[in-house]
Amino acid sequence: MTVVDSKKEIRTVNREELARLGFSPKDIDAAENMEKLGLFEMEPSADLVERTIARCIPRLKQDLKHEIVPAEPEPAIAILGRQPCVSPVFDPMSLGQGYFAALKGMPSALRTSAEWNELSVFQGLQQACLTTVHFARSRHDRPVLMLDNHNLLEPAWWGHDTGFRAFWNACQIVNKMAAESGVPLAACFVVLRPRLFDYSEEDLATIDQMLRKGTGDVWWIPYDKAGPYKALDLIVFGEERILGLREKPRSPVQALEGFLETRDEHVVRQVRREMTSLTKLASNIRLGGKLSATAAANVGTVAGIRNLMENVMSKEAAVAR
């Protein structure tokens, strides 16, 4: 049965009005032609979309074979009785199963809701990061390149913000997989702030922690040497996409929501090449998973990080003199 709108709208093409609103003459001509042919005298039924999709569903390729179906759950009390209380709380495998099971049962409307979109924005970075493993293995190249600009993102955010920490953790997973496959690790080019006293104690403590616990290759670039990179923060995922920030966000949330994206493969490849050449401007801090001798002598304390930073900055100042 077709449902026809009872309140029929009278449609007409108003050339002057459309031109005033900025529509192109070519499009207005097309619309006028449609009107002349009498095409606006009849409108689709209100339920046409529903009827069409209902007819198309059997022909749509439904590939659900790879979805993980969770096993019949054991009673919680039985599991708790066997489990020692250990940290971390989350078991990634069961978490993954739960995630896919929830996704499978989720109504379409919820998947297009603002809440799901919000959740996805914050999960997107780590998902994008994990998907670079295939690129790294197949191309024998670094999975992720980062330009971590301390002038745009507060170093302390990497320590206390869950979104940033989750992304950093995803990078460590990718590095482990890259190392096991014998491919180069993720590279991070850090643009330092102009002066040492621009950093807070918390910033320096976080930097120390990341150097001690991280695995990727790291270079530090003094602010004055960074040239046009002074005002950019970039993450390059394989050869698939670049995320960039060009303005300083006020908060970690604003940072994660404010990334701009480009997926032009040609541009991504060129940016990868350009970023790799940054090694010439920078001091190496960690390579192949090992801290440089100077870095190794300084990490472990905030004072040490301050010393290391001073060293990199003064090297630049000495060159400038």
Partner: protein, 194 residues
């Protein structure tokens, strides 16, 4: 470094933007996640223009225009395209769909809607959701929707609708230059846009 400054295709990072706001060439990526919702969105965006093309075709070839007959053709076109939706270059999704329209109707019927049909590609690159929804609605309905009707539908004043459309059209020109490389739009639209 000139390269970084010249990146022209920056878009807001929305790892999973809502399906009704993503560009046509990205719809295919959503297909594996939720085939029905994605294809339904594709149908929603285009069914009205296809309805007009089918109506023109029936009138010209059979000298009659019946609602049910037109709608059966519309359904048949989407049905024929459904197995192909996820196959092929995402950038050419509308070109592939146009071929199906020509198969079921003919080139003349497609030409009637072609300009408005292909304009949908850059429209879904507009970053302002309000502007995008307004302009998409107007193009879906053949530029024939009275401002008052749009105002009621979007719960806006007529003045706001007019201002929104003016801004949307102005931004659309920038989007067409900024988001697409030279010749790219031409290829994605069989030369209808360049």
């Amino acid at each position: 470094m000139g390269l970084l400054e010249s990146i022209s295709r920056w878009r807001p990072w929305k790892a999973r933007a809502k399906v009704d706001g993503i560009p046509f060439e990205e719809l295919q990526n959503r297909y594996s996640e939720d085939a029905n919702a994605t294809y339904k969105e594709f149908i929603r965006r285009l069914h009205q223009l296809i309805f007009y093309a089918a109506s023109e075709y029936l009138e010209r070839t059979k000298g009659r225009r019946r609602q049910e007959e037109i709608e059966n053709i519309v359904i048949g076109i989407f049905e024929e395209f459904s197995p192909q939706f996820a196959i092929g270059s995402p950038d050419k999704i509308l070109v592939r769909f146009a071929q199906v329209i020509r198969n079921q109707l003919d080139d003349k019927a497609f030409r009637v809607i072609a300009a408005l049909f292909y304009k949908q590609i850059p429209i879904y690159h507009l970053s302002d959701e309000g502007e995008r929804r307004l302009l998409a609605a107007v193009y879906e309905e053949g530029l024939s929707t009275p401002m008052k009707v749009l105002a009621d539908r979007f719960k806006m004043t007529v003045k706001d609708v007019e201002n929104g459309l003016t801004k949307a059209n102005s931004n659309l020109c920038s989007v067409m230059q900024r988001d697409f490389e030279s010749g790219e739009l031409k290829e994605m639209t069989e030369g209808y846009l360049s």
